[in-house]
Amino acid sequence: MTFAGGLGYALIALGPAIALFFTVIVGKPFLILTLIVSILSWLISLVLIAGVWRAFLPGESNVWVYIPLLLSAVCCQEAARRLFWHVYLRVEDILDKIAVKLSKPRLHAVDKLEIALAFGLGHGLAHVIFFCVALLTPSFGPATYYIPSCSRMSFFLMSALTGLGFLIIHTFSMIIAFDGHADGKKSQQLFAPGMHLFATFATLVNLVDGGCVYGVSATLFCALVTSAVCWKIQWDKTGADPFPSSSLSRTHH
């Protein structure tokens, strides 16, 4: 596709990520490092999954292989999320200690949210980078690509939209999961794996002829639900006063 088209697809997939990055993360070096660690760990989990399934890649003939593949992939990544939670507890501890030593304020609730956001954004960005952007950038040129089972949208548009959906899902479900673990709420803790599983299996609809429209809609719907749930949880947490001075008056420059 043309350069403008390619840029458009990239922005579709990465728009919210870029916005989140430049408003929340860019001013805080620690969050940038968290982001990089998160992306790296997603990549490592991807390498592990690919290592196991490389030999059994499903083709046209054995489509059912996708099911155990996706199941194992989601389990692997949810295990990584659980690991992140434990890492996060340690990190929080260390940061608080350092803050005391440097006579700086301890971690505020907003700070903890931001760290969770950085972790989640890392996962989401990793997904988009490896599944969408990596295939996009070499494809600048005079042609485009369609898949036979989906004649309505080009391959790039499809991957951009799905990438956008998954980015939002990963980002906000990490916040929900961290919140759930912190507060000990089982339902919240199960939301992230549950939504991940649901969204992943929803993409199986794309295998059917003409099903890609429904697949994309399902993914974007999941993204909407995830962000709504996250919003609701945070809204409830801040209490009756929607804009308490303590948490929102700290400027993000």
Binding site: F30, V47, K104, L135
Partner: protein
């Protein structure tokens, strides 16, 4: 800045060094993608190709054997030139070295920069005439030489030129054939370990000489912008000593330009806090001279590989709170046509640890983290080579290299001695390249083209 969020201050030095490394890699990837997306058709003459000229039609064993021979020759030449550098430094031939450095810097910017510029002009059909091009190139090269020689330039200009030099040299290295490049990278990583960690290694010797003499080792070092909060005036600044060891091979690659050493002043924590700070901070690596100041051992953490800290005796009459000025000398990749001495490695995290160790009030000047330009170059060569396969490998290798860089910093705080920065990053980079190329890429393409995601 008194009250600040911990998230805003912690890690700023690391980010300050990861950013220029990323920019360098990005520029090299862009150059590779636009000019030579499948490798260079014309083999570039270089020392690394003395023994074996790789052809795509050679067999596997031929390529591997030939590449290893090439790498061996390269490493030997690098070692020899590094020892030459040590000898020259030992005999204080500074004027000669300085002059040669300037000449080499100019050659890199003018010759390699000009070559890349010509390729870009051809590729994008940029309308420019030869005379204007020559004038601009000459100006560009001259400003570059001035920027890395004199410290009066705005730091952004110096940083920019250092990154550009790294980009140019790295791009030229990516023109080597594939097998030679990969084996060369691994060989240089190994050489790095040996040269820095073994007592007889040239880099080790160079650093110790510099420490003994209390002199600066000039080298091409990228210096991240310091977050100065309070700088005490320096009683005496050393004159820059330039060392250059450049092989005379004109067809070859980079040279080094010794930057001016900026001395950074770090104020010690007030005596009362010293013990806690010292406890929190890390101790100096063993190869660093640590003179006790203020009647107590204010330990100064030091950076990696061939990093050296000189503590000057405190001038009389100065306040107790002022620490002796430190100059953290980072030895960098003196690159010559071969890769020589003190490359890469050095990362100074003194300031980082200083910062962490806490020192609330009397102003800690966090000295900048310095990373040798050789590191920039080799990281970018790896990523540039990965770009010749696919962008997936580029992202994977980028993450691996940044992870290696970060873990080298962490190891530094644990081991507290000079550490080379190349090995971990290059090894991780190569591993991730192979894994991504053979495992992840087919997997992703399969899933993507069926629109199945997770």
């Amino acid at each position: 800045m008194t009250e600040g969020n911990i998230l805003e201050s912690l890690g700023s030095e690391i980010v300050g060094i990861v950013t220029p490394v990323s920019i360098c890699m990005l520029l090299v990837v862009l150059l590779v993608q636009s000019l030579t997306p499948h490798g260079s058709d014309v083999p570039v003459a270089s020392i690394a190709m003395l023994v074996y000229d790789e052809q795509p039609t050679d067999s596997f064993t031929e390529k591997l054997g030939g590449a290893m021979l090439n790498a061996l020759v390269f490493v030997i030449i690098v070692t020899v030139v590094t020892f030459l550098l040590v000898v020259l430094f030992y005999f204080r031939c500074t004027k000669f070295l300085r002059a040669y450095m300037g000449f080499s810097a100019f050659m890199v910017l003018a010759y390699m920069g000009g070559g890349v510029a010509v390729l870009l002009i051809q590729n994008y059909s940029i309308p420019i005439d030869a005379v204007s091009f020559l004038v601009m190139l000459y100006n560009f090269a001259t400003v570059g030489v001035l920027a890395v020689f004199f410290s009066k330039m705005p730091i952004f200009v110096t940083q920019g030129y250092l990154v550009l030099i790294g980009v140019l040299v790295a791009y030229w290295f990516t023109m080597l054939p594939e097998w030679t490049t990969w084996v060369l990278l691994m060989a240089m990583a190994l050489y790095d370990v040996v040269a820095v960690l073994l007592p007889g290694g040239p880099l080790n010797m160079l650093v110790e000489l510099a420490i003994e003499r209390d002199e600066d080792i000039p080298a091409l070092i990228y210096e991240a912008r310091p977050n100065a909060r309070h700088i005490a005036p320096l009683p005496n600044s050393p004159h820059p000593v330039s060392i250059s060891s450049s092989a005379s091979d004109s067809a070859a690659q980079a040279t080094q330009i010794p930057p001016r050493w900026r001395r950074r002043v770090v104020t010690a924590p007030p005596p009362g806090n010293a013990s806690s700070a010292a406890a929190a901070a890390t101790q100096l690596p063993s190869n660093v001279v640590n003179e006790p100041v203020n009647n107590q051992d204010t330990v100064r953490p030091i950076g990696i590989s061939a990093l050296r800290i000189e503590s000057q005796p405190q001038p009389p009459g100065q306040a107790q709170a002022l620490a002796p000025p430190h100059s953290t000398v980072v030895m960098d990749g003196l690159e010559t046509s071969s890769r020589t001495a003190g490359r890469s490695e050095i990362i100074n995290i003194e300031a980082l640890l200083e910062d962490v160790a806490g020192n609330g009030e009397s102003g800690v000047l966090s000295a900048a983290i310095k990373l040798g330009l050789g590191d920039f170059i080799f990281y970018s060569v790896l990523v540039g080579r990965a770009a010749m396969y696919d962008m997936t490998t580029v992202y994977a290798c980028y993450l691996a290299i940044v992870a290696g860089l970060g873990s080298t910093l962490v190891l530094l705080t644990v081991w507290r001695r000079a550490l080379p920065a190349l090995p971990i990053s290059i090894t991780l980079g190569v591993i991730f390249y192979l894994l991504t190329r053979f495992l992840v890429d087919p997997f992703i393409v399969n899933l993507s083209t069926h629109y199945v995601y997770f």
